[in-house]
Assembly symmetry: C2
Homo-oligomer: 500 residues x 2
Amino acid sequence: MSYLLLTQQVMFALKQSSRIVAPGCRYVSQAAAKTAVDFDYDGPLMKTEVPGPRSRELMKQLNEIQNADAVHFFCNYEESRGNYLVDVDGNRMLDLYSQISSIPIGYNHPALVKLLQQPQNLSTFINRPALGILPPENFTKKLKESLLSVAPKGLNQIITMSCGSCSNENAFKLIFLWYRNKERGNSSASKEELETCMINQPPGCPDYSILSFMGGFHGRTLGCLAATHSKPIHKLDIPTFDWPIAPFPRLKYPLDEFVKENEQEEARCLEEVEDLIVKYRKKKRTVAGIIVEPIQSEGGDNHASNDFFRKLRNIARKHGCAFLVDEVQTGGGATGKFWAHEHWGMEDPADIVSFSKKMMIGGFFHKNEFRPDAPFRIFNTWLGEPSKNLMLREVIDVIKKEGLVNNAVQAGKVLHRGLLELQARYPHLMSSTRGQGTFCSFDAPDDAIRNKLIIQARNKGVVLGGCGERSIRFRPTLVFKDHHANLFLNIFNDVLADFK
Amino acid sequence: MSYLLLTQQVMFALKQSSRIVAPGCRYVSQAAAKTAVDFDYDGPLMKTEVPGPRSRELMKQLNEIQNADAVHFFCNYEESRGNYLVDVDGNRMLDLYSQISSIPIGYNHPALVKLLQQPQNLSTFINRPALGILPPENFTKKLKESLLSVAPKGLNQIITMSCGSCSNENAFKLIFLWYRNKERGNSSASKEELETCMINQPPGCPDYSILSFMGGFHGRTLGCLAATHSKPIHKLDIPTFDWPIAPFPRLKYPLDEFVKENEQEEARCLEEVEDLIVKYRKKKRTVAGIIVEPIQSEGGDNHASNDFFRKLRNIARKHGCAFLVDEVQTGGGATGKFWAHEHWGMEDPADIVSFSKKMMIGGFFHKNEFRPDAPFRIFNTWLGEPSKNLMLREVIDVIKKEGLVNNAVQAGKVLHRGLLELQARYPHLMSSTRGQGTFCSFDAPDDAIRNKLIIQARNKGVVLGGCGERSIRFRPTLVFKDHHANLFLNIFNDVLADFK
């Protein structure tokens, strides 16, 4: 397929090249050519197919030193701005995937450029401390100004980690410590426990388990992987634990049209959760905690109702299991709340909330009662990184000042509504459009068509990502505005119209 | 105990305050007052006990949001230079622990300051990509100039990770994939495997194991923790795998005086390794790989001979087990070789070598035959970080230009010899002095005395770290020179002489 040249006057070019769409169908936005974000570009600009010749050459070079088959293309991050990712062949694309949902406020945001230019901040980037033993003077202050300023309700304790997997691994450990201490009551660990733990045996290493959901994704290290069930490629050939796996509701969309069926489906899943807790207690693999994503992301953007999560949380409480909400992908504002679990409207939504990606660093918030009872029980050399706390402080400041969580509600409405319209127009290519805020998705008929749609959109200047077996997920940054949504919808309309 | 005020004329002050040592016993170095490293200070300068009042206040604040009992003191990283760590009370200490062995070329090295000041580098610090799918243009180039320029013999493949634990977790996964593919031969995964892996069952999730050593430390996430056996506090209450654990030689020091006994001890351990491989194969927990540190670091700086490692590597080869050398703490030059396993003098020392800490980023080198057979099998969102590759390139450049690996040999000799002399003088406080390069250690009589020695040394201006049950380990940066060693030895002589 020959590539489409998009000039800076992208709307004009699009209208020239559009073949079948009637004028009334275009998502015209007054702001389409305007740069609402002052460091943004005003549209895609395509010069080659993607990956272009330079990317292909670099892929070949990288492939000599590691398997590079997952690489989409090589990027020019210096030239990327706001919502636009520029590649090494000079193509400029509207990015609705944002590095697997991990860029909070766009590329090269001026607030971060400024931060890096201030000489007094250099030392924080150069001298990475062992935070658990030798923190910098402003450590608590920066945590308070950044992460703790957006702490989920009731969770006043914070531990930082270097990535999402380490966050969940250590959240699991926190749960196990808490559960065992509950069982112990006031007594301390026995000599037998202290001895047997050193040789990987109970009672020192108890056979506790974490209940997870089919379709869930919580990371790829061995502990996380025991709770991850999104795709075989993640798990095949890796030893694991016999931990209980409950079905996650497979709902019909739009949710408000299938209330009854969806309620029944959720009830079935919740019943299974309770059965598994009882069953695993009997087989001496006591469920110490439950882990769940507010929206199963890698697994295919599977939603459940607020009612489902409220009931699930209550089941956890009833059976004395810790309730760990994994907000690695959902956290940071894209769903229209800073934390997706806020949609549940609960007073006591979680015991632990883990995060990473848009938060720039990993970690988890937790209740006071989960606080480790001794130093070095939750510990590693770096325990996160102060330079990330520093940057996150700026990012959260921008999110607050510019009302970017509300923006996700607003831009999400435009995106969601537009996707529903496209779905109505192209039902052979799109179904089950769903979403909260800009955290939207739809299903393609199958894996092959999904991947083809992604590639064709990319060649027209839009970066999208897949998830699950046949879904396309939208994960724009928080500076994604109405006019970006309209711009995307126009381009994607052409992709769908031209699709063969 | 009242604190000792050390002025900038530290040698003078020391002589004034020294009470029992005869002049001939002092480790006089012509370079003592000289700043061989131009960004270094010329000696410790103590104003308060450590932790001082400001540190104590900050500890109280931090303790409100997380268990802060492990914090030694709070630091002023802006004012720290070279080998000197400055705290928030204005105390300047000679740092022989370097953030748990993770600062390669000292604090605020001018090469890194310069790097951060160059505008063209800012974007790399601001825009953290998903490296596995959207790497920056210079990704391969920077890996070649940094990590691959010091690749261990025969290991031409590289995968980066965000920390040491993730490095070993993913190295384990690489081993399991490799082992299973060996078993499969040319056939691909069966339908049953693809289905069962999703529900944590064999054959999709096979019961492979990793053989590790008692006393070893490989990280604290659940997979790593199954191979870690250094202290109960790391492992207590955490579910784990039934993986084989071999005894690590408990040698007598100095090694050249106990050759015969040590040989017998090593033979006993190697025999046990082979027995365990056979035993675990029989119980269907096949040993897919062996993990070992060249020097067991967290576990107490336990050494073994080159001959031991050569034989162990051959046992791995004989039984078809992968051989994973964990150089997270030993790697980077401090032992007098860039990688500690180079001391073994082997043509084929390892299949995989993992690293982190001084390398600024985690990851592992591996042989071509261990290359993942498909994309996304070893994967996560960040897969390391380009800004660390950029800094590491400068660090490795400094190491090479300034001959810092050879410096570790030279400064290590001064440190080691001095410790042996102190041990001869204070045998009631020091035993089993041992080391390679500056990677030295000795044993105190017990845990309490060890900790007291660390605190008293700190109050005289020297930061030390413990390891194992009663050892003190030396982990200075690579810019630690002869005169720093002499300065330390003089101060520590006073600590030992004054000890009560």
